[in-house]
Symmetry: C2
């Protein structure tokens, strides 16, 4: 699991402070999460091939999470994309994008599938053999979802030495991976004696934008990584409340209560010059804190 921070700042435009976008590499998928203005250039900087992006998840329709999407989709077209694209986001996203493409006479030459969201409960929006994605309903000024990306449990891992000693032919490794015992010369070889447990599946929870909202805790429980917005410091808790954003302290409280493995903070208001203050505020409540930075790669 690898997370590339394409942008981690809030809406106010500044040189070298990009609005929200992230790229999650998970089990062969490259999921784009949010798409603020300038995301396509940030993808170029990160040397991400556009063709590998097949699923885009949009949390809400504020510009700093969404206004890079029309340009990115137009560029896909310009570059001759043929692969289908799936876009997950709040109801209205289809109408908005369709109108912009229509006005530009730029209908896509690839299949464009919209998955519009409107539920206030956590729902499954994507699932295949490797990964499942659920929404995390959030509490913001407009309808907003975070997303929980969870690996499915993988195959059992072969203990090659033990398997060889037991005389198991490689043609039977697939059965071992699937957890089955095998017969060798009428002797039953127990699966557990020649395999290891699968790697524990990883979970990444993305929560932005939102006020302090403890309802997310059971949904994101035990996630390996949590990205949680921290637009403000506690000294501006009044502004956080008014604008339905979180403070670093509140993000840390969610991380602690959900027992996550690591907390990534971002969506900083441009008023703060010293971002270390966000870590300083969060760490007394929850110690394993990373500050997101544009271009950073987290593994």
């Amino acid at each position: 699991m690898k997370l590339t921070i394409l942008g981690c700042h809030s809406a106010s435009p500044h040189e070298n402070k990009n609005p929200t976008a992230q790229l999650l590499d998970i089990k062969g998928h490259r999921f784009l999460i949010d798409c603020g203005e300038g995301t396509q250039v940030q993808l170029r900087k990160a040397k991400v091939s556009f063709v590998h992006i097949k699923h885009i998840f949009i949390s809400h329709l504020h510009g700093d999470h969404f206004y890079g999407l029309p340009g990115l989709v137009s560029s896909f077209r310009l570059l001759g994309r043929e692969a289908p694209l799936h876009i997950y986001g709040p109801k209205g996203i289809k109408e908005a994008l369709s109108l912009l493409l229509k006005l530009a006479n730029s209908w896509t030459n690839f299949p464009l599938h919209f998955h519009e969201l409107g539920s206030n409960a956590s729902v499954c929006v994507f699932e295949d053999d490797d990964v499942v994605v659920h929404t995390i309903p959030l509490n913001h000024r407009v309808y907003t979802n975070g997303f929980l990306f969870a690996e499915k449990e993988g195959y059992r891992r072969i203990n090659a030495d033990a398997a060889e000693t037991a005389g198991i032919d490689k043609s039977q490794y697939r059965l071992l991976q699937l957890g089955q015992d095998v017969l060798i010369d009428d002797v039953l070889i127990k699966n557990s004696s020649v395999t290891y447990n699968p790697n524990p599946p990883k979970k990444y929870a993305y929560c932005s934008d939102t006020a302090y909202f403890p309802s997310v805790v059971p949904i994101i429980k035990d996630a390996d990584w949590l990205y949680h917005e921290a637009t403000f410091l506690q000294q501006h808790a009044d502004l956080a409340q008014k604008t339905k954003h979180s403070t670093a302290q509140e993000a840390a409280t969610i991380a602690r209560d959900a027992n996550v493995g690591r907390l990534i903070l971002g969506h900083y208001s441009a008023r703060y010059k010293n971002l270390d203050l966000f870590a300083q505020e969060a760490i007394p409540i929850y110690p394993n804190v990373i500050l997101a930075a544009d271009g950073a790669v987290i593994t």
Copy 2:
């Protein structure tokens, strides 16, 4: 008259190659011309105060000329703007921007006036005491206008030495500026003997995007500056024709035939690494060529 090139590249996303946007300072106005993705950050880099932008002219609704507008308008709101904003652009621009603002629950707290364009003839879209702006109908894949920004003739300029020698009190200078003669001790002082002609009014013609389109020549005749797109070099004239763009040679031909004072080239396709080739191709046809560059200021 001062022109700040905020972006002068075509649509393909690249680091440090911004799509089209320009800021024209003319007689106290700051006109924003086109607004590709990332324009608000380019304005910040150029240290342009957002509040002074009151009129935005959009040539057409392709993303590389337009997708920065929703973010800029949202930022105006975020920054507490109260001054009215006028947006001139093709029919559909109001519906698109209104939908995006509605979905973001971000109705502006300042008056937002749309002036939608649909005529295929050159029409006046703005006029006050100092400046008049006409459309320049262009020939592109979607409905597109360039814009001709023309200063009105200013006041006559006082020859202070001559006026003092003639004994004219400063209280009468306003009459002189307006071209009137004045009486001093029953002697008529001819205006022309104590004033200079007004500074010649300046004209800036903006033509992007367009195929080679000689119909613009009479509209932009004798403009001081012409910005004309040159997406391609002549070696790709077939692509220019197919995509309804111009080559550097075609832009120079328009500049020569319209007898403009200076030609500014831009909207380069990303395929060309050496932009000097655009000047080399244009200069044999029309010598006074400037290559636009992001961040450049032309005075």
